[in-house]
Symmetry: C2
Subunit: 359 residues, 2 copies
């Protein structure tokens, strides 16, 4: 019922091969022929059948995106970066979320298999090797914030350790002595790296903290609230709270206020991510800036590169630098809008070359 390439061929008086060549701009075709075919194609409102095309080319011009979750501004920023970049390159984006367990990821990947030319996988709970094992080796993959140690897969990371290290140092430099930490789930790559950054900075300063100041959260608002409840019960009370993401930090500030404590006077609170809304809180949130949309964009560029090379390309491993953004919630005296400190660049290669400096 729809108009096919054969209709265009018939009406224009040429063969399907020629029409196909014109429409794809390949092979030698006389100018007059080209003109005529184009004319007929538009007049018939011909639009090539996507399924047929991808059946014969085995290309879909679609990229898959697997996310652990869709709550909050963090993931919407990732998608935004991915979508913008993919669209600019003529690719479509197939999203699929809520995959926190490796088994779910495999399942989702399986249903995506013929539909995409490559996949961006963001999952702090899976490691690349096991993943790649059960996928066709020809399928390009880019891992985002995954557990480390994969040389054979493209992988992009945030400098979690450097950012957390810088933040903890910053709090120490401001004179805070008793710094509590609300992290993410154990086994989550982001969470673990941030926790290590926090610990390393304390160790460097020669400070030993009680275990009760290090709390496992889950990056949700509720975890921020729960952490405050826990911390208010311990004595001496911490004078700073470093949350592993902004959402927990924000919820924690809210809970602290409800408990009658002043931020930052009684206790400093800082976060991680710098979600867009963080600067509108009161007090404005000191945090570690991550170019979230940029991360997504970079992932797509990497993926499209891999697709072009049919996955026979040199693998890319990169770590996105982070930036300390000093605002009011840490108790530093800042001018308007806060101060950004950090390299802000993108470092590439095996090692973490992030030069996120301390405050």
């Amino acid at each position: 019922m729809a108009v096919t390439i054969r209709d265009v061929a018939r009406v224009s008086g040429f063969s399907v091969a020629t029409v196909s060549r014109v429409l794809n701009g390949i092979g030698p075709v006389k100018d007059e022929t080209r003109r005529r075919v184009r004319e007929v194609a538009t007049s018939l409102r011909f639009s090539p059948n996507v399924a047929a095309r991808s059946l014969s080319t085995s290309r879909t011009h679609t990229l898959g995106v697997l996310l652990p979750d869709l709550h909050g501004e963090f993931f919407s920023e990732v998608i935004r970066g991915i979508d913008e970049t993919a669209q600019a390159q003529g690719y479509h984006v197939l999203v699929s979320s809520s995959h926190n367990a490796p088994a779910e990821i495999s399942a989702a990947l399986a249903t995506m298999l013929g539909r995409v030319d490559g996949v961006v996988i963001m999952s702090p709970v899976i490691d690349g090797r096991t993943l790649a094992a059960e996928l066709p080796p020809s399928l390009p993959i880019v891992l985002l914030n995954c557990a480390g140690g994969q040389q054979d897969v493209d992988a992009l990371d945030i400098d979690n350790h450097g950012g957390a290290f810088a933040m903890t140092r910053h709090l120490l430099a401001l004179g805070r002595q008793r710094i509590a930490f609300v992290g993410g789930p154990r086994g989550n790559a982001d969470a673990d790296a941030r926790r290590r950054g926090y610990r390393d900075a304390l160790r460097e300063a020669g400070i030993a903290q009680p275990d009760s100041w290090e709390i496992d959260g889950d990056f949700s608002e509720g975890a921020g609230i729960a952490a405050v409840e826990q911390l208010l019960a311990v004595s001496p009370r911490p004078d700073a709270l470093f949350a592993a993401n902004d959402v927990m930090a924000i919820a924690a500030m809210s809970a602290l206020r409800d408990a009658g404590l002043r931020v930052p006077d009684d206790i400093a609170v800082t976060g991680f991510d710098d979600i867009p809304i963080a600067r509108y809180f009161h007090p404005t949130l000191t945090t570690v800036r991550v170019d979230i949309a940029g991360l997504g964009a970079r992932a797509v560029r990497t993926l499209i590169h891999a697709v072009g090379w049919k996955n026979e390309h040199a693998r890319v491993q990169a770590t996105l630098a982070t930036e300390l953004v000093v605002r009011a919630s840490c108790g530093a005296r800042v001018a308007d809008g806060g101060v950004k400190v950090g390299s802000g660049g993108l470092t590439s290669g095996r090692g973490l070359e992030c030069r996120t400096p301390i405050a």
Copy 2:
């Protein structure tokens, strides 16, 4: 190179037709045959080629989603609702964003055409009739928050008018006399309806406001800031500011604080949407609750229904009820966590049956 249905047929000793029947669970097949075919299929790790299947069936099991934007928690919640529901029904989701102009929407739609079984379009700038005109009549569409007046297309709406009306009444009931409004762009269906709700409540109360208290924003943080700048210059100063979405309300509160004003004592501030983070601000934000994820979920259910009926179904028009959520930023004395007021249900049919009550 990949294993095809013919391989399964050859190895199992049956024909491709039989294998296909087994795999799709249709037609009469002997149990023994079924068992054997399944066995071979799994042992060969056969997975049907998606493109071939959809070429033959002209079904993709994919739904398209066209969004105007991806900034902020609102859209990520919509996507979350869409994704969850689609996944549960065995559908994939193709997203495409940044379509604020009708021309862009048409273009995006065109590139989606063979890739999806139906589309959810969220665009407060387009109306259904013009849209449907240039699309194949067989393509199911669900319009979200679009300009009204389409009987021939499935359309879901938020009760913008009722919510804004209730909020304005609530502020009046609290004794606020000079209520300013920051809206969205003219021509934006959501924005216009909310503005009408605001105006109608004022008219009902017999209050005439100066034009300068009604400001056109664009739903962004920057617009909230700009609105405050504008309002601080007028005299007498408003004693309440009703923003057409939470993001502007939040940014406005931040700007007001910077200007040395207290919320809600000097000026009440309220929003619209009830994005998850709204309750963690200080003061906690009084707003109009919208079940954003529910809206997305409902859209997908409607769309899948339409797909099942090959778009020959009775059209659905529904309006999602809204709820006034009274927290602290409006100056009402509330207990912990705020008070929700509203029907909370989903009303269906032509008219707006939202019973959002006043405070």
